[in-house]
Symmetry: C2
Subunit: 633 residues, 2 copies
């Protein structure tokens, strides 16, 4: 390995732009020169050994740079980031340059061995690992301090000299992907492998989960339809539906783990070693020594962080929860007012008015969720977490707790305090449908429309009427750099999580919820696909092996829904009629059934293996081989 870096010339005549770097307007010349020199410098001199070309624009200021790399450089980079690729014998192995010949489809002149998303990921990794040597500051900006080992790109970003780094779209590929994904009317699966090649594993896994979840909801929806059509109200049918629902939701979550393992095994991310996690960009502190790495880096006392979490964030979250409950009570006042109005007037208009409070409340909930989201992000970033993963966990926890209460508190109140099943059904339907419509609008259509308007303006501005594919590189970059940035799959998963709540928490009262969820998810796939391909900048690929904390969140929701459904069934008049003499027996029976269902859930989760047998065998084989290799050493 060491030799390859030095004796192989990693520059190349045909430059293919992969990543765009946009510097702030008026960045000092010396800074630009220093930065580009570091990017192209040899590894031995502490450079990244990549290729850089300034993008000439009409007004002559060079703020945009295109970064590429030679084929060889990318292969060496693939080894550095630990990519896992398929071998000639169909097994998955960590790619190394020296064993490159054993990999499937590898040829010295096959530049498609690495997907474009992988190449861009490699370049991003190399840029982020460009570290200060003995520089004390960024040349030209004495206030932007550096210390040995500090990532240069992160400092440039935090000091505002670097506006953004983003990967370029591949117009040809994107067109093909759009066509197979949502461009034609078809019934079938999404092209997940193509999505993965273009957008990376995290996004492909989200779409895979969305698709799987939609398919998994179809049985529930089908079983739910007759309840609506025939207006079934028999308790035994409801009990059957709820029981099926609960076991089904456990089964689908367990099976998802297996499907996820199969997918990520074939994508190579299941085997990919976790990279050592660097401090997140926003992390600040006094310069000290990291006890783990022994490197110089900012250090921030854990006690201070705990104080911020428990003395500021926690009370704030509680306050928000209280506020959300307060808003809920206002909603109930409104509801009462609408009911009174309807009773007084009794017109068609007044019966329509009955739905207004729920709709208003649904809109308010969405607005509160979004505002809270910003507050939670601000607070979590103020808590100053060292690692991105810990930041994400704290953010997700904050957002989940609030959104759960905000969305479902009114339903819990209606169900378990007011005992009003009719109102519960009506509220559930209104909340679910309104939030779905709002989400679809706010997430995709609005940005799409904004972006389209912007594009038209841009085209008018440059006085060109070319079609998309004919755009010159300059035009493409100028268009893309103005596009919105995709902030990750968080909001998309959150939406699914809340939907899962609507479907499962009160499933025995409103079996039709699954139908709406299925319908929504089908359009969601299309609108999310549109969003990814048309609205946002291309995101960097992120290797991932599973959906992480969301698996836990969905499982927790399915445990809670066992409890709520058992109580709902226990409260139904039909079940009550079965125990005319003793309410006691009723409650004890319900509690027993609930505990049994919970026990079955846990046993199912325990018994169903997380990985299918053949994946287990393949993993065991790899482990065995690495142990054997160690012995040989």
């Amino acid at each position: 390995m060491a030799e390859s870096w030095s004796f192989l010339d990693t520059s190349e005549p045909d430059f293919r732009p992969l990543v765009v770097i946009e510097l702030a307007k008026g960045t000092k010349k010396e800074t630009v020169e220093w930065f580009t020199k570091r990017i192209v410098d040899k590894k031995a001199n502490g450079g990244a050994q990549l290729l850089v070309k300034p993008l000439a624009t009409e007004n002559g200021d060079e703020t945009i740079y295109l970064v590429g790399a030679s084929h060889l450089r990318l292969l060496l980079g693939a080894e550095t980031v630990g990519l896992v690729k398929e071998c000639n014998d169909n097994s998955m192995r960590t790619f190394t340059y020296s064993s490159r010949k054993t990999f499937k489809d590898f040829a010295d002149d096959n530049h498609n061995f690495l997907t474009m998303a992988e190449c861009q990921y490699i370049i991003k990794h190399e840029l982020e690992n460009l570290r200060a040597k003995d520089e004390k500051m960024i040349p030209g900006y004495p206030q932007a301090k550096l210390y040995p080992g500090k990532s240069i790109v992160r400092r440039l970003l935090t000091s505002g000299i670097l506006v953004q780094i983003f990967p370029l779209h591949d117009r040809e590929e994107l067109k093909k992907l759009r066509y197979t994904w949502y461009g034609r009317v078809k019934v079938g699966y999404q092209p997940l492998d193509e999505i993965r090649c273009y957008f990376g594993e995290t996004i492909a896994l989200y779409f895979g989960f969305l698709e799987y979840f939609t398919f998994a909801l179809i049985p529930m929806a089908i079983i739910g339809i007759p309840y609506y059509v025939f207006a079934w109200e028999d308790y035994d049918k409801y009990v059957m539906f709820a029981t099926f629902n609960l076991l089904w939701s456990t089964a689908i979550l367990e099976v998802w783990k297996r499907i996820c393992a199969i997918m990520t095994y074939h994508w190579g991310t299941l085997l990919m070693k976790r990279q050592f996690e660097e401090p997140r960009p926003g992390f600040h502190g006094v310069l000290g020594i990291n006890p783990v790495t022994g490197r110089e880096e900012p250090v921030y006392s854990s006690i201070k962080r705990q104080l911020r979490i428990y003395l500021v964030s926690l009370p704030f979250v509680c306050l928000c929860l209280y506020f959300s409950l307060y808003v809920m009570m206002i909603y109930f006042d409104l509801e009462q007012w609408a009911l009174d109005y309807h009773e007084e007037n009794g017109s068609n208009f007044s019966s329509l008015m009955l739905f207004v409070p729920s709709i208003i409340y649904a809109v308010v909930i969405e607005i509160m969720n979004r505002i809270y989201r910003y507050a939670a992000e601000f607070l979590t970033s103020w808590e100053n977490h060292r690692l991105e993963s810990s930041y994400q966990n704290h953010l997700i926890l904050k957002v989940l707790v609030f959104n759960f209460l905000n969305c479902f508190a009114s339903l819990f109140y209606i169900a378990f305090v007011l005992f009003d099943m009719k109102l519960l059904r009506q509220s559930l339907a209104t909340l679910l449908i309104t939030s779905q419509i709002l989400n679809q609008f706010a997430e995709s259509l609005l940005p799409y429309w904004l972006q389209k308007r912007h594009k038209k303006r841009m085209k008018k501005h440059t006085c060109s009427l070319k079609t998309d594919t004919d755009l010159s590189l300059v035009e493409q970059v100028n268009l893309e750099k103005e596009m919105g940035t995709y902030l990750g799959t968080f909001d998309d998963y959150l939406e699914l999580f809340l939907q899962f709540g609507y479907v499962s928490l009160f499933s025995c009262v409103y079996p039709l919820a699954a139908v709406f969820a299925v319908l929504n998810n089908i359009t969601e796939i299309y609108s999310d696909a549109l969003k990814m391909c048309r609205v946002y900048k291309r995101p960097f690929a992120e290797p991932t092996a599973n959906i992480g904390v969301w698996q836990l969140a969905f499982e927790t929701m399915s445990v809670i829904s066992v409890v709520t459904n058992c109580i709902l069934i226990g409260m139904s008049p039909q079940v009550n009629a079965l125990f005319p003499d003793s309410k006691m027996d009723l409650v004890l029976t319900v509690a027993l059934v609930e505990h049994l269902l919970l026990a079955i859930k846990f046993i199912m989760a325990f018994v169903i293996p997380d990985k299918p047998r053949d994946i287990q065998m393949k993993l065991a084989k790899l482990e065995f081989e690495s142990l054997e290799a160690l012995k040989q050493q």
Copy 2:
């Protein structure tokens, strides 16, 4: 590494016997010669490169061989098994021969660098990994087939040529250990590090857990005493006790994980890489190719095994459970009979008779547990599991389910069907105390007495009246080879598990249970120590990083006890008096409290990190270093 094996002479003049091999009487000469040759042969020739010496006995037949190894050979073996030792900079690292100088207390002439238990573990590992080359059978025994790669020792054991392999006691060390462990009257901790050096990690961890668990029970016991002394019957005090008990039991199980991590980190087993698991000795099947290793080995179809499990084992276990319930019903008949007798006669004798059914039942339970244990072992071994771990898991599951039902079914019946709290308290006390007395007797005192008698006979036989330490090697080996074999920590953990059940399941009815448990455990430590040092052969050390499946078993028990305690409190007349109007409210309140307690338990388990911060840091540091090392490669 490769050179060290060939050019270093690993034989040594001063032979220290570590492991004893006992062959069957009348083993053919050619077999013995072949076997000993393979043991001493060079690694390059497929040998184990150990030292062997026959033990001359008075009657002249050479069936016992002593195995040892040179210091250098042991160091090389330590690298092979992946021992983790402390370095000069106090960090724990995997031992390699080439980096030996960086380890604490290493010196070329320090033969105590490896503990005797470690040396014996290494020799056991090397013997078990002595594999057939091109032999088709064991010389002299054509029916004992071999195939390339088959472990010779395992075949010798299964074909009865090899009677046993066991490590020798170190009389001096044992005497010292006995003294510090239980030889003097003292208040304090057990010498866990010394125990670990002498008996290995698995046994030391058991004693560590026993000690920890006893200390953890003390607060419960202290709080429980006044309930007995002042005959407190107020519901609020019981609620307090139960709540404390539930949260406490969660806390102690979580804290144990941390303590366990600290201990095993310092013992090096937390970092030790898992070895690739070989098929267990009893596993049989048609010779085929293992898909994971590509090696020839017996293959047994997974479907056949599943059929055996579900069509034979499962029905058998259900039958046993039914039988156990049947015996329970007989016990209740007896109980009723005793009660009638007492009412008729009303004498002192008849009031004593009230306890007799419980005592008989406790004895019967113990006997059934022991018989079932053998049946479960037979069945599980008949299921023909490939791996020892999978065998153990199936065995533990079978035994746990039966023992749980067998021990606690009558208590559940009394509590939740008969609603007789007085009888519950009495049964609980009788069962707990009787089973503790029986266990202590059957486990240690009986074998100790048998062994002592045997020793006396032996001594008479050899006509010597020497004290223990003066025994010659021949006498020592002859004594030890007749001692019982310690079958692992399974029964000891099971006993603690059932005790934990007695203490926590009905804690709010009988707070005194914790007191008895503490008293029992203090004597248990002594009797188990006695058992290990005096009754049984020395066992081979087994490196382990945690108590494995028992952690899960204890956690499950603590979840079940939340449910039982909540119901018991809900049923108490004092709590019932609080809700005079509505039983409904009572049951709902109890259910709410139960769910809250369960939620708190899960949140506590989630929030308390499994490893203390400094251990986490040390592990992170090691991971970082290995990643850096990979980069350098």
